[in-house]
Amino acid sequence: MMHISDEELMAYCDGELNSVAARELEQRLRDNPTLLKQVEVQRHLREKLHRCFDPVMQEQMPRATNEALGSRL
């Protein structure tokens, strides 16, 4: 079985592989619990960051920020 490099695995996690390459890598990952686990860890990390920071987007904007733009609208 062909070796899967860290770079390749991370590129897969970041959606950098085209769909053919991604499917092909998934095939190679199937029997590799260690690497599957790494993919899972990265997925969790992404979810965690979004869980922590996405709520910022719902907060009310500071007035100064709106005014900086609003005064020019």
């Binding site: 970041d14 990390l45 922590c52 920071f53 100064a64 900086a68 733009l69 020019r72």
Partner: protein, 162 residues
């Protein structure tokens, strides 16, 4: 001309999220966003209509953040470093668990070297491609991916240690 402001205002929530991730502290993050917007408004003629305003703005936010880090470093050479303050990394609207997680993640991010923190912000949080992120940071792709991998490993192990 007004299209610029309108498009910029739709980007604000996203830029604020990135600012929070980079700066950590709520007040510092909002100051950063404000400085970035003022800089963008001054430099608006440099933006080419039709090109991506989000990438252009992310670059400005990032550059303002780096400037702030540098001037902070200069200030710390003349003044004693501040005591490690209370973490104001969340606004109290969330439940205890969310708050604890937020605190842990925020702290772990602040412990990363800035060059690792920013690639994680751009690629993992913002979802930019390697190419887009490398262009924003003005580094070769190889540099970007090696920082990304080092940052990821460091962040993962810090978060596991909590």
């Amino acid at each position: 001309l007004q299209a610029f402001e309108r498009e910029l205002s739709t980007l604000l929530p996203r830029l604020r999220r990135l600012s929070r991730m980079l700066a950590g502290d709520v007040t510092d993050a909002d100051d950063l966003l404000q400085v970035a917007i003022e800089r963008a408004l001054k430099a608006r003629h440099q933006w080419q209509p039709g090109s991506r305003l989000d990438a252009w703005m992310i670059k400005i936010v990032r550059n303002c953040w780096i400037d702030e880090l540098r001037s902070r470093k200069r200030r710390q050479q003349t003044f004693l470093p501040e005591e490690e303050g209370e973490h104001k990394g969340y606004d109290g609207h969330t439940d205890m668990e969310r708050a604890a997680e937020m605190h842990g993640v925020s702290r772990a991010l602040q412990e990363l070297p800035p060059d690792q923190r920013e690639v994680i912000g751009l690629v993992v949080l913002e979802g930019l491609s390697y190419r887009e992120a490398a262009d924003i940071l003005d580094v070769p792709i190889g540099t970007l991916t090696s920082r990304l991998n080092r940052g990821r490993q460091a962040l993962t192990s810090k978060l596991e240690a909590i």
